[in-house]
Symmetry: C2
Subunit: 255 residues, 2 copies
């Protein structure tokens, strides 16, 4: 779709891509249901950012390093979630450092924050919380005392949902770009009956982001069609074109 957009000359709209790397055995083993991916997906979309990849991986340094390096190269920026506490299974900083071939150091600003928090007495676990790759940038994180750590285009966020959400909310204005515009068509027809009209719409409007989502057991509609573009006028033309193709009695409502 993005290639199509460029061909059509709507490339003036700024496209900004992101990946999210969720780190945590607890999620892969079904002990904890992740909610950070859903939060990030909705917030990034509101900010006009294209989330292109979400990957959940174990607490393993080489796996984290490989995935972070891949995402850093292929997307404009990367968020990580989890693995930043003081215990043995918190190895995200080790993985991110390895991704960029950087040393881990005790950061003086973070160390001072931790010493203040613990009134001077800091054990090995406390110092681990201040240990980050060399050359990071620190960002204030709203109400959260501990700043957010940035290395290259990677932002390292904690996995606890309250903290992840607060820290992402504090960062989101940095990522904001041209918005997506969205129209929705709810139809009572099945996907099999409207597929040809969707194909025709994509031929006419190749840069359109068009999604078709069937729903089982809803009395209200059978398929929800989402039409999106960063070009509001292009979107309206595509919307009118598709509504014109669909059998009139199949359109339940539009938004």
């Amino acid at each position: 779709m993005r290639a199509g957009a460029a061909r059509l000359g709507v490339e003036a709209m700024r496209e900004r891509t992101c990946a999210l790397v969720v780190i945590g055995n607890e999620i892969l083993s079904g002990k904890v249901q992740d909610s950070n991916a859903w939060f990030a997906a909705t917030e990034l979309r509101k900010a006009g950012v294209a989330l292109m990849r979400v990957v959940t991986i174990p607490d393993e340094i080489p796996t984290i390093a490989g995935e972070v390096a891949y995402c850093s190269k292929n997307f404009d920026f990367v968020l990580t979630s989890g693995g930043v506490g003081p215990t043995h299974d918190d190895v995200t900083m080790d993985g991110v450092a390895a991704a960029f071939n950087r040393m881990l150091i005790v950061h003086p600003v973070l160390e001072a924050l931790i010493r203040k928090h613990f009134a001077g007495s800091v054990n090995k676990a406390g110092l681990k919380m201040a240990t980050v790759p060399e050359g990071v940038i620190l960002h204030e994180a709203g109400d959260i005392r501990f700043p957010t750590v940035q290395i290259e285009n990677v932002y390292v966020l904690p996995g606890i949902p309250q903290l992840f959400e607060a820290k992402l909310a504090a960062l989101i204005t940095r990522f904001k770009t041209d918005p997506y515009y969205l129209r929705i068509i709810y139809t009572s027809a099945t996907e099999g009956l409207i597929a040809e009209h969707l194909d025709a719409c994509m031929i006419e409007f190749p840069a359109l982001m068009l999604g078709s989502y069937p729903r089982i057991g809803s009395p209200e509609y059978r398929v929800k069609l989402t039409l999106e573009s960063k070009d509001a006028e292009y979107l309206e033309r595509a919307f009118r074109f598709l509504v014109g193709l669909l059998p009139a009695d199949a359109v339940v409502k539009t938004e």
Copy 2:
């Protein structure tokens, strides 16, 4: 952890690994909250399977092909979720075919099922539902009329949660292996205060799967420690060792 297990000679326990590839722009763009990853994580764990990777990617053939090929090579089996309907954005079969350099064909068994369902009259969209890579294996899917398609070690499942869950439930006995045993310790201490005991436990029991999960705002406990192994006796020894290290008044309850 798994390398540690092998070193200690508990490699007699069968380890079986899996990856889940979730395909869908609707999830990445925050329109739909995925629940299939959580369902798969819990069901696979109960079956003794190690889910090692969950990745959510767009409806793009080369991306699907690359990710499926990677997961197929690196894990014992792979599940995909989504992208198997009759519309333009359903390209999972194309991606899986490309992953294994296979042609797409109209499968006679699937075509017959679809012709039966539509009482003989089948359009292009209907035939798309019968189009799969050459050489697939079909599995009965319980109450779901449409069989599950297997290519190499990849099982292609629909994204609609009711269908994904029913199809995975019908497959799960194929994947079942030695179970995980789990003990839990809830503590009132912070992670910073118990990190050294967790380190000591991992030195003594390197094959243990030990997780430490802080919780904010719970009056009941501060950190939940999960101890797991496929060796029940090893797990009990590690559990007793760690409980012995923790300050007695820090242990709120165990399970």
